[in-house]
């Protein structure tokens, strides 16, 4: 009823149409995005034009070059970027410090992910199906498993997803955000289904991810619509203005806000909107899982931060309590459900749910500290995750990856190095000092405490203590248990995977011991609010 009346009220007065700025778009700021998307189109052409045997090498080269080039452009821009940030493309993109930080993070992470995707040494021919059209379980399927070809479309897909992510966390209005959301999601849906082995699981993951994703983006979109109805514009700044001082129906505002946030939380795999996470993480080909777990989270939380801090800051006292609840639920689900998982990838999935909870704590603290700490946490978490999945992809038996925990028993005896690296990564996920994981937790909790969220922090600490148990469980298995008779073998990784894992481990260690520089970047500036 109140909706009705308020809308009626709203119908009377005519909001002035949003002014359209007509200056030429300053492209220097958004070169990275343009490069990535451009390269994505180019690599589609490669797929169309190049002979099969050349594609892989060309695609890999192109992708890596793209990321490198984008990175270079980014760095050159950062060196002389306005501290306050600027908007581009008629104000649809806000290129400010956080956005740049997130872009850097995304590029670096996707570099690692691409290395994993491109690897063909661990699994002959790479971990992607030769021809996605083949039905699983058929003769052809067995043939394609043996063959060394792979569906190189995964590379353009990756680039598109990356471009979408970069756009997503720089989007300055909700429509751009929605489009970017789809641009990053659709390729991921497909990539999930491209596993070379265990095709059934892979396809199932794809279906689930797709249906739920679409469902979620519908929510997101409806949220956008309601907010548009409330503010008369989808610009974050305008929404903030409207929310700060207006007599319009708050029902629209809060309903819209709710739906919008749900859409975002879904992408960020925050409980209770995490249900897709375990299944998809487990079913998708491991490199893709790495890409999703690391980059999607970064992008999603980039969006969450921007929406909460720019558009909804003035209403934080309304939504803060609710998000407290969500954070707690997420941490508890992640920590408790992780305890009894028997599949490594699934376990990491639940760990990522718990981490999403921690990240949310940082995002709730609507302060500069909250922003910078969350950004830093994203950086640390991303690299640790990439390396973790990289290691997981190395433990294999005849039927592919041996992800069942029981198969990991006594692994330290077979391959001390791998066990050592994995232990280190697990300790990082658990947040033991001298790993990036600890510094990340530390800064986030520090921000939360100084914003007066003591109880939440205590819950988080208890949760991470509980979560520590399942990390320890793996360590116990690897070190203190006798190896299984027909245990898996540890393949010696090729250059690509090695590079990816090394990158992740080094950054994890570096950020654990000398986090100062990264912290400075993360706190170098705040969202540009125009």
């Amino acid at each position: 009823m109140s909706v009705m009346s308020s809308v009626l009220l709203l119908a009377q007065e005519q909001a002035p149409a949003a002014p359209v700025r007509a200056e030429a778009p300053p492209v220097t700021a958004i070169w990275p995005i343009l490069i990535v998307l451009g390269a994505a189109c180019l690599s589609v052409l490669f797929e169309a034009l190049l002979p099969k045997d050349l594609r892989w090498s060309f695609q890999v080269a192109l992708t890596l070059l793209t990321i490198a080039a984008a990175g270079v452009k980014l760095i050159t821009y950062v060196s002389d970027a306005p501290a306050a940030g600027e908007t581009a493309m008629f104000g649809t993109l806000a290129v400010d410090r956080p956005a740049l930080f997130l872009w850097g993070t995304l590029l670096a992470l996707s570099l690692g992910a691409v290395l994993l995707i491109a690897d063909r040494s661990v699994e002959p021919g790479g971990s992607f199906v030769a021809t996605a059209a083949i039905r699983p379980g058929t003769v052809q399927d067995r043939a394609q498993v043996a063959s060394t070809g792979m569906q190189t479309e995964v590379f353009p897909l990756t680039l598109f997803a990356l471009g979408g992510m970069m756009t997503f966390c720089a989007a300055n209005d909700l429509l751009t955000m929605f489009v970017a959301l789809e641009v990053l999601s659709l390729p991921l849906y497909l990539m999930c289904g491209l596993a070379r082995r265990r095709r059934l699981l892979s396809q199932e993951a794809a279906v689930k991810y797709f249906l739920l994703g679409a469902f979620a983006s519908a929510f997101f979109l409806y949220g956008v619509a309601l907010l548009y109805g409330y503010a008369g514009s989808v610009r974050l700044a305008d929404i903030a203005e409207a929310a700060a001082g207006s007599d319009r129906s708050d029902t629209l505002l809060f309903a819209g806000m709710g739906l919008l946030v749900v859409g975002l939380l879904f992408k960020a795999a925050v409980g209770p909107f995490h249900t897709w996470t375990p299944d998809v993480y487990q079913g998708a080909p491991t490199p893709v899982t790495a890409f999703m777990a690391a980059c999607t989270k970064v992008a999603a939380f980039g969006g969450i931060l921007r929406v909460l801090q720019v558009a909804l800051e003035s209403t934080q006292w309304e939504w803060r309590g609710v998000l407290w609840g969500v954070a707690i639920v997420s941490m508890v689900i992640g920590a408790v459900l992780g305890l009894t998982q028997t599949d490594v990838k699934r376990m990491i999935a639940y760990s990522s749910v718990a981490h999403a909870g921690f990240l949310l704590i940082g995002s709730i603290a609507v302060t500069d500290k909250g922003l910078s700490s969350t950004l830093f946490y994203l950086l640390t978490y991303g690299f640790t995750t990439i390396a973790t999945f990289g290691v997981i992809s190395l433990v294999r038996d005849s039927s592919g990856e041996a992800t069942h925990l029981s198969q990991w028993a006594g692994l330290a005896k077979r391959s001390p190095l791998l066990a050592g690296v994995f232990t280190f990564l697990l300790l990082a996920l658990a947040g033991i000092p001298l790993t990036s994981g600890f510094v990340g937790k530390f800064v986030v909790f520090e921000a939360a405490l100084s914003d007066g969220m003591g109880p939440l922090v205590v819950v988080a600490l208890v949760a991470s203590a509980v979560a520590a148990f399942f990390y320890l469980r793996v360590i116990v298995l690897m070190y203190f248990s006798e190896p299984a008779a027909d245990g898996p073998t540890v393949t010696v990784p090729g250059a690509f995977t090695t590079a990816a894992i090394t990158l992740g481990v080094i950054i994890t260690l570096l950020l654990g011991i000398a986090p100062a520089f990264a912290l400075d970047w993360a706190s170098s500036g705040v969202f540009a609010i125009r």
């Binding site: 909706v3 009705m4 809308v7 009626l8 709203l10 119908a11 005519q14 909001a15 149409a17 949003a18 996605a132 059209a133 039905r135 699983p136 379980g137 429509l175 929605f178 489009v179 789809e182 659709l186 849906y189 497909l190 289904g193 095709r199 059934l200 699981l201 396809q203 199932e204 993951a205 794809a206 279906v207 689930k208 797709f210 249906l211 679409a214 469902f215 519908a218 979109l221 409806y222 956008v224 619509a225 309601l226 548009y228 109805g229 008369g232 514009s233 989808v234 375990p278 299944d279 487990q282 079913g283």
Partner: protein, 99 residues
């Protein structure tokens, strides 16, 4: 006539879509329900732009349609592959991944 009714209608459509997603088994139908939700949103977008007197709501609707079309492409591809494997499009049959 007030635009409010259009809003209510779109809310109704959205709900129908959502419920449809929950109750229907066939992947195609589920997917169609999602499309229905998107279009419900389109309706309210257009309505709001009418209320606010700007055009951008209507433009947004076009964007949404394009995106929806893209989704259809991807979605049908995935559903097809599942269907060819299992000879059924029932979403309930694909639950190897659980617990």
């Amino acid at each position: 006539m007030t635009p409010t009714y259009y809003l209510l209608l779109s809310a109704l459509l959205f709900t129908i879509g959502a419920v449809g997603v929950l109750v229907r088994r066939n992947a195609i139908v589920v997917f169609m329900c999602v499309e229905l939700m998107l279009n419900a949103v389109n309706l309210s977008l257009v309505t709001f732009s009418r209320i606010n007197g700007g055009l951008d709501g209507q433009i947004m609707a076009f964007f949404v349609m394009v995106v929806a079309a893209a989704e259809v492409v991807v979605g049908l591809a995935i559903i097809m592959s599942i269907f060819r494997t299992r000879r059924t499009a029932s979403v309930d049959d694909s639950n190897l991944l659980k617990y």
